[in-house]
């Protein structure tokens, strides 16, 4: 359902050109739970942003549900994000002046649902994350884990096909992280495709597939339940592998 073929992303300043993504080929099937690992600056977040249509790319093709997104205008991209993709960030990125209910409401507003439909979806999403009782609280009145659950509810409310999570547990202690992880797993089990960036090997192990990224290239892919198949590969064989992914 999401297919990247030879996607490259280059950041240019006046002096330096940085290749953030280098000819990425990636095919994600519906219902997968994929984790992306890699050191800081390796291009994980860029990959997620490109996949989430937040950033453009210079080369290659990106197919979402079989449709090529290259060349779509900003409004179309916004609509796609709104309908098909849900975001969860490390820093939660809740709107601080809005209560929980209204935060979850934000994407639904842009979707253009009527008030009744929005309320139904918000209530539903809050119930999934178990925060129905906190709907009138402001984000700062909540714990980190609760805030992240609000963010998840917001991502879920639009019933997206994809959930993109950028280190969703990075700012949380281990208990809370576990809670959030369980929640994501549950959501995945109900059919939502999830791509998650993480540092945590333990979390990565729970995914159906785990991708390692270094210097803008995918260097290693591990399927759940299997041993690491790319660990000792040389650069050239890796590239050969990508083609088959």
């Amino acid at each position: 359902m999401l297919k990247m073929a030879g996607v490259s992303k280059i950041y240019r300043t006046s002096e330096i050109e940085t290749c953030a993504l280098n000819k990425i080929d990636l095919h994600i099937k519906a219902g997968e739970f994929i984790t992306v690992k890699g050191p800081s600056g390796s291009g994980k977040t860029t990959l997620l942003n490109v996949a989430g249509l937040l950033e453009s790319f210079e080369e290659g093709e990106l197919l979402l549900d079989g449709d090529n997104v290259k060349g779509l205008n900003d409004d179309k991209l916004s609509a796609l994000r709104n309908q098909k993709i849900g975001f969860i960030f490390q820093g939660f990125n809740l709107l601080p002046e809005l209560p929980v209910f209204d935060n979850v409401d934000v994407p639904l507003r842009y979707r253009g649902f009527d008030a009744k439909e929005r309320k139904k979806r918000i209530d539903n999403a809050l119930e999934i994350v178990g925060l129905t009782s906190r709907r009138k609280h402001l984000p700062m009145q909540l714990s980190g884990g609760q805030q992240q659950r609000v963010a998840i509810a917001r991502a879920l409310a639009g019933e997206p096909r994809f959930l993109l999570a950028d280190e969703p547990t990075g700012n949380l202690d281990s208990t809370m992280a576990k809670e959030v992880m369980e929640l994501l797993k549950k959501i995945n089990n109900e059919g939502t495709t999830i791509i998650m960036v993480t540092h945590d090997d333990e979390l990565a192990a729970k995914a159906s597939r785990s991708i390692n990224i270094l210097d803008g290239r995918i260097v290693d892919v591990a399927e759940a339940g299997k041993t690491n198949i790319g660990g000792h590969k040389t650069q050239s064989t890796q590239e050969a592998d990508h083609a088959g992914l």
């Binding site: 942003n49 937040l54 950033e55 916004s78 960030f89 990125n93 934000v106 507003r109 979707r111």
Partner: protein, 404 residues
């Protein structure tokens, strides 16, 4: 996108919102007052004069020697002035157009209860219409033998004929023909028969100010009084020669001993005096208002730019969640509009309150409620424009760069 998130964001920045509201309110009050005042100043300011002022000269002089019989002087002056090459027509006059502020009351009937009509009465000789350059619409002009000459005394019998302007004819008689009608140029004094109606020409500041710029009568009189030994002349000259003839005209008067010329000018100068006192004040008002609106607008540009920078992350999040550029633009425009409307309502109340509590300029109608509305709409548009630029910048924020 709804209003609710905006209201919630006001709650978070009460001080900001309050300041914007106050600023808009004060600007509206100040600009409305300038507009009221400018309006009061420029009411009827620009109505056409009906006169070719560039080619008309005035000459007013005074005798400072007592016991002069002006009969001879006036006929001498008229003769000598009309002999100056370039002078086409000359008449004596008691008032000067553009400065005719000696207002008289004219009546359609005798008696103390009669309705009055305000007008400026000109006493001129049979050249009146030629000098003024106005046209006869109906009836006839004065015959030279109808012109009353000599010293005016309480026993003088005033001329029995009179001409009135088109505007005054309309006001007094409506659609009826005024020709042959009798009017009383002074309450209960000798009446006169209307023999002619001429096209309109400008009176002066005061009648202009009350919307009766063209109410005039002309009586056939070439007279003087012992108390004011000041014959005045109005001349029509060859086109373009007015300026160069001033000296010659003045010399004619100063050839006689005991005379003092206190006005010797082209009529454009008189016209300028009538207009400039008001227009210059209006100009100051307008300049001040423009600067004020600009200041408010720049303030709002600066403020919204700041808000945009403040909210970069929020905008990024909203964009990530599917907001289009238009959504973001609309958000800022709507937010500003809400504050502006609040400010405008407060400002309108302030404007009316102040204008009622301290009636600034007495006499004329000062407050115009519809003007407040126009100024408010104008300010709103300016504010929208002011917000548009920074809001556009906000809409162009790339979500990936601001959210981490």
């Amino acid at each position: 996108m709804g209003i609710r998130p905006i209201l919630l964001s006001f709650k978070q920045s009460k001080f900001f919102s309050l300041m914007v509201v106050l600023q808009v309110a004060l600007t509206l009050a100040a600009v409305s007052h300038s507009v009221f005042s400018t309006n009061a100043l420029l009411r009827n300011w620009s109505v056409p004069s009906g006169l070719d002022a560039r080619n008309m000269l005035i000459e007013r002089s005074q005798f400072f020697i007592d016991d002069i019989n002006l009969d001879g002087v006036i006929s001498r002056d008229l003769q000598q002035l009309s002999q100056i090459p370039g002078v086409q027509h000359v008449t004596t006059t008691n008032q000067i157009p553009f400065a005719a502020d000696g207002i008289s009351e004219v009546f359609k009937e005798a008696g103390t209860e009669a309705q009055r009509y305000l007008a400026a009465t000109f006493q001129m000789n049979s050249s009146a219409l030629d000098v003024l350059g106005v046209e006869l619409i109906s009836g006839r002009s004065f015959y030279p033998n109808e012109v009353l000459k000599g010293q005016l005394s309480p026993e003088t019998e005033y001329p029995s004929v009179i001409m009135i302007s088109d505007a005054l004819a309309n006001e007094m008689f409506g659609q009826e023909s005024p020709l042959g009608k009798t009017i009383w140029p002074v309450r209960n004094a000798q009446p006169a028969e209307v023999i002619g109606v001429y096209t309109n020409f400008m009176t002066g500041q005061i009648l202009n100010g009350i919307g009766k710029s063209y109410n005039t009568t002309i009586r056939p009189m070439e007279v003087w009084t012992p108390a004011a030994l000041d014959p005045g002349y109005l001349m029509r000259v060859d086109p373009g020669s007015a300026e160069s003839l001033l000296e010659n005209v003045r010399d004619v008067i100063y050839q006689q001993q005991g005379r003092y010329v206190f006005r010797n000018e082209v009529l454009t100068r008189t016209k300028k005096r009538m207009h400039d006192a008001r227009s210059s004040q209006a100009m100051v008002m307008a300049a001040v208002s423009v600067v004020l609106v600009l200041i408010t607008a720049f303030g709002i540009v600066g403020l919204v730019s700041f808000l945009v920078r403040q909210r970069e992350k929020q905008i990024g999040i909203r964009r990530a969640l599917g907001a289009t550029r238009k959504n973001i633009l609309r958000y800022f425009l709507l937010e500003n509009t809400l504050l502006t409307i609040l400010g405008l309502i407060l400002g309108a109340a302030l404007t009316i309150g102040i204008a009622v509590k301290f009636p600034a300029l007495s006499g004329t109608k000062f407050i115009h409620y519809d003007y407040i509305l126009y100024v408010a709409i104008f300010l709103w548009c300016i504010n929208l424009l002011a917000v548009y630029w920074p809001a556009k910048k906000a809409a162009n924020i790339k979500p990936a760069q601001v959210i981490g």
